[in-house]
Amino acid sequence: MADSGVIDGPGRKDEIERAKSEGKDLTKEEKQRLRKEKKQQKKIKEKKDDKASQENEKEKKPVTSAAPASQPPTQPTVQKAPSAVPATAPVSVPASEASVPADKPTKTKAELKAERRARQEAERASKQTKKGETGQQAATSKPKAPPSDLQPVVKRLPEHIQVDNPDVLKKLAKKLERQQTPEHYAAKKIPLRSDYGYKVSLFSHLHQYSRKAPLTQQLSIPSTVIHPAIVRLGLQYSHGIVAGSNARSVALLHAFKQVIRDYTTPQNEELSRDLVNKLKPYISFLNQCRPLSASMGNAIKYIKKEISNIPSNCKEDEAKNKLLNCIESYINEKIILAGVAIAKCAIEKQKISDGDVILVYGCSSLVNHILCKAFEKNRKFRVIVVDSRPRLEGKEALRRLVQKGISCTYVLISAVSYILPEVSKVFLGAHALLANGYVMSRVGTSQIALVAKAFNVPVLVCCETYKFCDRVQTDSFVSNELDDPDDLIVTRKGTTPLEGWENESSLGLLNLVYDVTPPDFVDLVITELGMIPCTSVPVVLRVKNVDQ
C-alpha cells in the first residue's frame, strides 16, 4: 500500500496541475495528497511500534492521527475528521490507481469526475466508520468545511469511560460546579473525586478510586449541599456495605424517599421541575462514590418520569405522597414480587428438580432467594458455591444457604472445571442484561458460563426485567468498573508481598468488577415475564418502551 502511494506521487502532481487549469477542486486534491502522506507516515510509525499498539483501537487511532493532523498548521486545507484519514486513503488509492493508468492527457474531465465520485464514497464510508472524539476535534476543524461536505454524525461517548482524556475531565469538573445546589450561603460545588494509583493501560479510560480517600473528605461535615441520607448512602456504596444490584436500588429508593419527605418547593418554582433539578447533584455525588448500576439507572429514570408527570395544580403534600407511593409500588412490583414470580417460575417449571446439583457463583440475592424457596418446597438438591477473590462474596451466599439447611460445597473459581462434571445446572445472577443479549455480571461469570458450555451443562440466568438496559456491549473493556486496587493486597503469615506496589513502575494492580457473557453461553433467562432466550431481551425492552 505504501509503495502504491509512492508510485502515485508523481502522477498526482500532474493531475494537480491539470486540476489547477480546470480551476476547480484544488483544495480537495491537496487534501487527498495530504491524506496519502499522512497515511504513509502512519504506516512507518506503526511498523516501528507494533507491540505498543495493543491499546484500544478507538483510543489510539484518533489520538495518533490527531497528532499529525495538528502538525501542519500552515496547510490551508481543512482537517477532516481524523479517523477519516485511514479510511479514505485506502479507498482513494485504488480510485486513483484506476485513474492513473488511464490516458493522462485526454479524459481529464471524466477522470476528475471519477475521482470526485470516489471521494464522495470515501466520505460516506468515513461517516459510517467514524466513532471519533466528541465534537471537540470536529469543532476545531469545522469552520472551513467546504459546502459539499456533510457534517459527519458525531456519536458521543459517555464521560465515565473517557477518564484519560483531560478535556473530558475538565468538562466533568465544570458540570459538577454547575450542578451545585444554591443555598443561602456560598453555593458549594459537588467535589470531584480524584483517581488513585497506576491504572493498567487497557483500562486507563475508567475511574479508579481508593476507599481510603472518600468523597466526604471534601464535604462539610453537617452536609448542607447534599442531603444527609444521600451522603450516608454514598458512604455505604463506597465501603461496600450496600452491595449487589437489588440492594443498591432499594437503598437508593429509600434515600430518595427521605429526600422527597424533606423537600419543600421554593417560591416561584414548580415541584415537578425543581425536584428533578435537586436530584441531579445527588446523582452525580452517588456516581462518584461508586458508578451507578443499570438497575439504579432505570430506577432513577422511573422516578424522574414520575416527578415530571406531576400536574402543576397538585398541592405539595399530595404530590409528595403520590411520589412516595410510586416508589413503594415500584419496589414492590419490580423487586419483591418479581423475585417471588421468578422463584415460582423456576420451581414449578421443574428447573430445580430432585437430585439436582446446582452451581452458583458469588452472592446473588435473587438466586439465593430461589434456592431457599425451592428448599422450602421440599425439593432435594445440593448446591456448589463458587467463589473468587478479592470479594469472596461466596462466603456470604454459603452462610445464607447453610442457615436454611441446604447442603453446600464451597470451591474457588480455579476449581470450576474439576467440579463441573458433578453439576447438573448452573444458576447465575445478573447485574444487567444488555440489549444485544449479553449478560453483564460479576467478573468470573463469563468464565463459568464458558466452562459450563464446554461440559454441556445448562446455564440459567435469573434476572428481573428492571435490570434490562438498552446499552450494547460485546466486551468487558469498553465499560466496566475498577475497584480499589488495594483490595488485592493480602497479608499472610505476617508478610505482605504486594506492599509497596505503587513504587514499582512496571506493576499495576487491576481489580475488575464486571464482565460480559455472550448469549451463546446462556441457555435460558428466567424473568418475571417468563422464561425467555437471551436474544429476546430487545423484544422485552421494546415492549416496555411501548408501555411507557
Partner: protein, 444 residues
C-alpha cells in the same frame, strides 16, 4: 440538618487548680489563644455553622470580650449553667434537650486536635451507629512540670478499651477504678467477636457523635450524669445485652433497673422495612465465620476511631498544658510575633517562641522556646527559656526564668531567678527572689 455541635465549656479544671484559680479553664491561653478557641476552630474548619456552647456565666462574660472568640464566624448559642459543679456533662445535655433536633457531636473545650473529623463522622454515618468517638494513642509528656519534685508516678487510673479486629468497633470499655477483682468479659461478646484487642495506652478525646435517640434516652433516665463516666460504658455494654423482651437477662444486675427505659434507644426510624430489605439483599457482612447476619443483628453499635498520627491532646493537667503550648502553635501558619509587639533589635528570640500583642521586649533579652502573652512587658537582660508567660505580666530587669509558668498579671521583681515554678495570678515575686520547683500562688 445532619449534625448539631455541642461544646462543653463548663468544666472547672479540677486537676490544675493552680492555673484555673482566677481564669476559667475554657479561657486559659494556649499559644496566646483561649483554650476553647481550638475546638471552635476545628468545627469551623470542617464546615459547621452553628455551635451550642454550654458554659458558666463567668466564661460567657470572658468570651464576649475576647477578640479571638469574636473572630469565630460561626453562630455561638451560649447556654449558661450554674457553676456549683453538680451538673455533669449528661445533665447538661438533658438541660438543652429542647434545642436538639438531630444527631449531635459533643466536644469538650479542652480538646486540641488536628484530626480529620470526617473519619469519626463517616463511621457514624456509614454504619448507622448509635455512638462514634475519637481516641488517640497517648504520648509521654517530655517537659518538666513546675512544682513537681522528681518524676511523677503515674497513679492515673488506666482505661481498658476493647476493639474488634478491624479496630473500629468498640466492644468493651472500663476504667481500672471500676474493676475491683479483675477484668471480666461476657461470653456473649466473645461468641460474637472471638478476636478482641484490648488497649490501655489510649487517650479519650471526649469527642462523641451521638444519635438523637440517646438524648431522648437521657431525658428518661435521669440517673446518668456524666457522658464519659456513665453513658459511654452503658452504651458499649448495651450493644451485647439481650433484648428487652428476653426472659434471661441476669448478667448485669444494674441493667435490670434501666431495661424498661430502653425504649427510646431502640426506636426504629420510618421506612425501617426498606432498610431491612436493602440489608438482606446486600451481600456484605462485617464478620465471617459464623451464621449470623451483619452486625449480628444488633441495632445498637458503637464505633471508635483511633488516631495514631497527629496531635490530639486534652488539656486537663498542668503537664498537658505545657505540652500543648509547645505543640499547638505548630498547627497553624500564623506568624510567631504579633505585629503590634514592640521588640527591640538586640533581643535574641528563638524561632519557636511566640510573642503576643502589644508586648514590650527590651534590649539584651533572650527568649527561647517560650510563649509570651499579650500586654506583657519584659525589661532588659532577662532570660526566658522554656516558659509560658500569660497576659499582662511584668518582668523586671535581670530576671532568669526557666521552665516556668507565670500566670496573668504577675510581677516578677528585679533579678529574680525562677526555675520550674508556677507563679499564680497577680502574684508579686520579690526582687532577687530565688525559687526552684515551687508553686507560688494564692491557693497555697
Amino acid at each position: 440538618m445532619e449534625l448539631q455541635a455541642v461544646l462543653m465549656a463548663a468544666g472547672g479544671g479540677s486537676r490544675m487548680t493552680d492555673l484555673t484559680y482566677n481564669t476559667p479553664k475554657a479561657m486559659l491561653p494556649v499559644g496566646n489563644k483561649p483554650l476553647m478557641w481550638y475546638p471552635l476552630n476545628l468545627l469551623e474548619k470542617v464546615g459547621f455553622e452553628e455551635v451550642i456552647v454550654i458554659t458558666t456565666k463567668e466564661v460567657q462574660k470572658a468570651m464576649s470580650t475576647d477578640l479571638k472568640i469574636k473572630d469565630v464566624k460561626m453562630k455561638l448559642d451560649v447556654v449558661s449553667i450554674q457553676e456549683d459543679g453538680d451538673m455533669g456533662t449528661a445533665d447538661a445535655l438533658r438541660h438543652i434537650q429542647p434545642k436538639i433536633k438531630t444527631d449531635i457531636l459533643v466536644l469538650s473545650c479542652d480538646l486540641i486536635t488536628d484530626v480529620a473529623l470526617h473519619e469519626v463522622v463517616d463511621l457514624f454515618r456509614a454504619h448507622n451507629a448509635t455512638m462514634a468517638m475519637l481516641m488517640s494513642k497517648a504520648h509521654e509528656f517530655t517537659e518538666t512540670v513546675p512544682g513537681q519534685k522528681g518524676k511523677k508516678k503515674t497513679a492515673e487510673q488506666r482505661d481498658f478499651v476493647g476493639v474488634d479486629k478491624s479496630g473500629k468497633r468498640l466492644l468493651f470499655m472500663a476504667n481500672e477504678a471500676d474493676l475491683e477483682d479483675g477484668l471480666s468479659i461476657r461470653k456473649s461478646i466473645m461468641r460474637k467477636h472471638p478476636r478482641m484487642l484490648i488497649k490501655t495506652g489510649l487517650v479519650d478525646a471526649h469527642l462523641y457523635c451521638l444519635k438523637k435517640a440517646v438524648v431522648d434516652f437521657l431525658t428518661e433516665n435521669k440517673s446518668i450524669s456524666s457522658i464519659r463516666g456513665e453513658l459511654v460504658p452503658y452504651l458499649v455494654r448495651k450493644q451485647f445485652s439481650k433484648t428487652v423482651n428476653s426472659q434471661k437477662l441476669k448478667d448485669d444486675t444494674d441493667d435490670q433497673t434501666q431495661e424498661k427505659n430502653d425504649g427510646p434507644l431502640l426506636i426504629s426510624s420510618r421506612d425501617e422495612p426498606l432498610l431491612q430489605l436493602a440489608q438482606e439483599r446486600s451481600c456484605w457482612n462485617d464478620h465471617r465465620g459464623d451464621m449470623s447476619e451483619a452486625y449480628h443483628g444488633g441495632k445498637l453499635r458503637c464505633y471508635v476511631h483511633i488516631m495514631d498520627q497527629g496531635l490530639c491532646c486534652r488539656v486537663n493537667t498542668l503537664a498537658a498544658y505545657i505540652e500543648v503550648n509547645r505543640l499547638a502553635p505548630k498547627l497553624f501558619e500564623e506568624p510567631s510575633v504579633h505585629p503590634s509587639a514592640d521588640i527591640s533589635e538586640r533581643c535574641q528570640m528563638g524561632s519557636d517562641s511566640i510573642i503576643g500583642a502589644v508586648c514590650h521586649i527590651a534590649d539584651k533579652t533572650s527568649i527561647k522556646r517560650s510563649t509570651i502573652g499579650n500586654f506583657t512587658t519584659v525589661k532588659e537582660k532577662v532570660k526566658v527559656t522554656n516558659s509560658i508567660i500569660m497576659h499582662g505580666v511584668t518582668i523586671e530587669e535581670g530576671c532568669n526564668i526557666q521552665g516556668s509558668v507565670i500566670c496573668s498579671n504577675a510581677v516578677i521583681g528585679r533579678g529574680a531567678d525562677l526555675k520550674y515554678c508556677l507563679v499564680g495570678n497577680g502574684q508579686h515575686i520579690e526582687p532577687e527572689g530565688k525559687s526552684k520547683t515551687n508553686i507560688l500562688s494564692n491557693g497555697q
